[in-house]
């Protein structure tokens, strides 16, 4: 765009990438603390019932848990590759990697579903008659198991939704939108005409009349034919989504040994 347009869009809000990163990290702290409450409960109960936790953990299927760990670790890799690809302007590869990540998330949930249904089948779910015949510590183990992996599962779902949203944002044609300042609109009011003129003098935009009903003027630029062009805001959004996905992964890295490997 020309310098004329730059002057026109004086009041545009700056996209503060660093600010977005700070906010995302702050949000990740809240996620860690949210799970932190559960980890404290786990620690207290594990300390109170070490033998019961050992016995109950035998019931869990370590092979499925390990598979899920592998699936999530792979997804963390693919989401990073997706960022890398977008940074290099390779939107297509970025979308492929993002799609793989979403598939991994789905695979995780499917495996989790089979794991949970097997437990339900054996009567090992909160409130079940069968579960209440077990010792107190085992009951708590399964309560904690469902609470923690359940909340984690919700986060996987949310992560999937976010990554799918990102897929859509990156897949669609990049659009820039610039808003003009108030003073400019005021100057144009009352029947002025607006045209977009390129540097070489060619008029590219339509001529419009700005009457009193116009409150804002946005200049919308759609990049139809530029495959390597991407909206830079998508990059920071993708990076933040990936950060969220990593935290989901990291939490699982802690859940896996605490529930499956303590036998």
């Amino acid at each position: 765009m020309s310098s004329h347009t730059d002057a026109l869009v004086a009041h545009k809000h700056p996209s503060d990438f660093e600010g977005a990163k700070i906010a995302m990290w702050l949000f990740l702290f809240t996620e860690i603390l949210l799970f932190g409450g559960l980890f404290i409960l786990y620690a207290v109960y594990r300390f109170l019932y070490p033998v019961d936790f050992h016995n109950a953990a035998i019931e869990l299927n370590t092979a499925l848990g390990a598979t899920n760990t592998l699936v999530l670790l792979t997804s963390s890799l693919t989401v990073v590759l997706s960022i890398e690809a977008l940074q290099r302007g390779n939107r297509k590869l970025s979308l492929w990697m993002l799609g793989l990540t979403i598939l991994c998330a789905l695979a995780f949930l499917v495996i989790k579903y089979f794991e949970w249904s097997a437990k339900f089948h054996h009567g090992l779910y909160p409130g079940a008659e069968e579960l209440l015949t077990h010792s107190n510590g085992e009951v708590i183990f399964f309560n904690m198991y469902y609470a923690m992996t359940g909340l984690h599962g919700v986060h996987v779902l949310v992560g999937m939704a976010i990554l799918s949203g990102m897929f859509y944002f990156i897949a669609r044609k990049p659009v820039d939108k610039e808003r003009m300042g108030f003073d400019i609109i005021e100057r144009l009011r009352g029947g002025a005409h607006l045209a977009v003129v390129a540097d070489n003098g060619n008029e590219i935009g339509k001529v419009l009349e700005i009457d009193d009903k116009v409150r804002n003027i946005d200049i919308k630029v759609t990049y139809e034919m530029v495959p390597e062009k991407y909206d830079p805001r998508n990059l920071i959004k993708l990076e933040n989504s990936a950060l969220y996905w990593h935290i989901v992964d990291v939490i699982w890295i802690f859940l896996f040994p605490l529930f499956y490997l303590i036998t």
């Binding site: 503060d16 949210l34 107190n136 309560n143």
Partner: protein
């Protein structure tokens, strides 16, 4: 009106006149302007405050005679629960950051808005939704009667709709986290050129410390509320001993959040006092850095003292001693602030205007609240005081005498900048005097009654306490009349008040440098800052 003003003098319309994408009410509830969002919070907050105050009025009235006066015990239980839930979660916690913080943080920093304006609007919507969900809980399954803390085993045994109310609190927590995150980022990224961290006004420092606690402590409340929710709906036993849980753990988790939350409530109020003191003494604040650092110190130490709510639960003696010690440590940064505020007055040219009066009553009441808090931090004394009116009165000295008085002080201080009008100062003074007298009649009497053994949360009392209860109830009338007069005066000022000058108090911070009401994006040009925030002794000032 808006378009006329623009046509006539071609000045930029202020934030109240400006026409955005929407008109009418949509222009407010869809607005991402931090000033409008601040006012929307204020509007809701005052409605909630007045309704919860009315509940308090009836609770006091119930204590007029021995035995049943107005209501049965069950009704009284729901009354103090709803009073507490509304006051704590809907008024005092979001309180100052959401209202005055939203309005003045960007103005004081010299920024056009907060870092994430849309997120800010989302916070307001979450706040509204959380409030509506809590009110919905009133109509489905009855009012909760567990006390505002939702303690297990009360939350286990009650038949009322606690899950819904708890879910409402969870949503409110989300709103609080997003506000904190937004403010912290704003202060990191959007300070005007020349404004280092130590040129930032102290109100911002209060909000900064608050923002961190909001981000770091609220998730614990979130998970606690979620666990109560899954326990009650999915029977995942966490706190209910019948299905394997432990009620004491609930108290731990609850206070890990709720004690730091006390500082979420008080730190912004302390920030307001730090603004008012220098302005009305016409000199720079005494010990700027000490006040700024003490906000952080309070936030840090305050996060490690939750166990002092649980001295009587049978937690280990070692834990008790450590929590008691840490509790005393919080007293130090708090005392530093009080000392500095008083020292600011020394040799200042003091102007006794309404904002300063409210600020002074803050210092007085908050000091009583602080000292009575330390009394409860003493291990053996707390056994005697636990679960009595002493605790309730202490809490009100801190939260009401502290936070709400701070909010009132801030309202009187910034009212001219928010609305461009001035209230009647004489009536503001009368309201202030009534509030101060009524407040102490009510809560100091409760301190004494509590020390003599009056337990909290009883709808009835012994004959021995009847005089005290009558005195406190009369005090509540005086207090409420003071509050009503204040609100009427402010409302009158808003509708029919005289036009206020741009800087009626001679404030030195950036918001006062804006002509009249701030326009949509606050500053035509981002100002450049030279020197500290409270430089009253510049040459231009002296020449005046």
């Amino acid at each position: 009106m808006a378009s006329h003003a623009v046509d006539v003098d071609h000045r930029e319309p202020n934030y109240l006149e400006v026409r955005g994408r929407h008109d009418g009410i949509l222009g407010w509830i869809m607005s991402t302007d931090h000033k409008r969002i601040g006012l929307m919070y204020l509007f809701l907050l005052l409605i909630f405050f007045i309704s919860a105050m009315t509940l308090g009025f009836f609770m006091r009235l119930e204590q007029w005679t021995v035995g049943q006066t107005l209501m049965d015990a069950k009704t009284y239980n729901t009354l103090f629960t709803v009073h507490g839930v509304i006051m704590v979660f809907l008024v005092v916690v979001p309180g100052i950051p959401a209202t005055l913080g939203n309005f003045f943080l960007p103005l004081q920093l010299g920024a056009k808005d907060v870092a994430f304006p849309r997120l800010n609007l989302l916070s307001w919507w979450l706040y509204l939704s959380g409030a509506l969900i809590i009110f919905l809980a009133l109509f489905y399954g009855g009012l909760p009667d567990t006390g505002w803390t939702f303690y297990a085993p009360y939350n286990v045994r009650t038949t009322t709709n606690v899950p819904l109310a708890v879910f409402g609190v969870f949503i409110l927590g989300f709103s609080s986290i997003l506000t904190g995150l937004n403010f912290v980022t704003t202060m990191h990224q959007m300070r005007a050129p020349g404004m280092g961290w130590f040129q930032m006004p102290l109100f911002c420092w209060g909000l900064y410390a608050t923002g961190w606690i909001q981000v770091l402590a609220t998730p614990i409340l979130g998970i606690t509320m979620l666990l109560v929710l899954v326990e009650k709906t999915l029977h995942i036993g966490v706190f209910n001993p019948a299905i394997g849980g432990d009620p004491i753990l609930y108290q731990h988790l609850f206070w890990i959040y709720s004690h730091p939350a006390v500082y979420i409530m008080i730190l912004p109020a302390m920030g307001i006092i730090s603004e008012i003191m220098p302005t009305f003494s016409r000199r720079t604040i005494f010990g700027y850095k000490a006040i700024a650092y003490s906000s952080l110190a309070i936030a840090l130490a305050g996060s490690l003292v939750w166990g002092h709510h649980m001295f009587t639960t049978g937690q280990s003696f070692t834990a008790n001693v450590i929590f008691s010690l840490l509790t005393f440590l919080v007293g130090i940064p708090t005392a530093i602030k009080v000392l500095n505020w008083v020292a600011t007055l020394y040799k200042g040219s003091i102007r006794l205007e309404p904002p300063l009066l409210f600020a002074l009553s803050f210092i007085f009441l908050f000091s009583i609240g602080g000292f009575t808090g330390l009394m409860q931090g003493v291990l053996n004394l707390d056994i005697h005081l636990h679960d009595t009116y002493f605790v309730v009165a202490h809490f009100h000295y801190v939260m009401f005498g502290g936070t709400i008085m701070g909010l009132f002080a801030g309202l009187h201080y910034w009212f001219p900048k928010m609305f461009g009008k001035m209230y009647q100062k004489s009536w503001a003074n009368i309201a202030w005097a009534l509030q101060l007298v009524g407040f102490n009649m009510l809560y100091f009497t409760m301190l004494v009654m509590g020390y003599n053994g009056m337990p909290r949360r009883y709808y009835d009392h012994l004959e021995y306490f009847n005089f005290g209860h009558k005195l406190a109830t009369v005090g509540s009338w005086v207090l409420i009349s003071g509050i009503l007069i204040m609100f009427i005066n402010l409302l009158h000022g808003l509708l029919k008040g005289e036009k206020a000058p741009s800087n009626p108090w001679g404030g030195t911070t950036l918001e006062w440098q804006i002509e009249d009401l701030p326009p949509l994006e606050n500053f035509d040009e981002i100002p450049e800052v030279h020197g500290g925030p409270y430089d009253h002794n510049t040459e231009a000032e002296v020449a005046k």
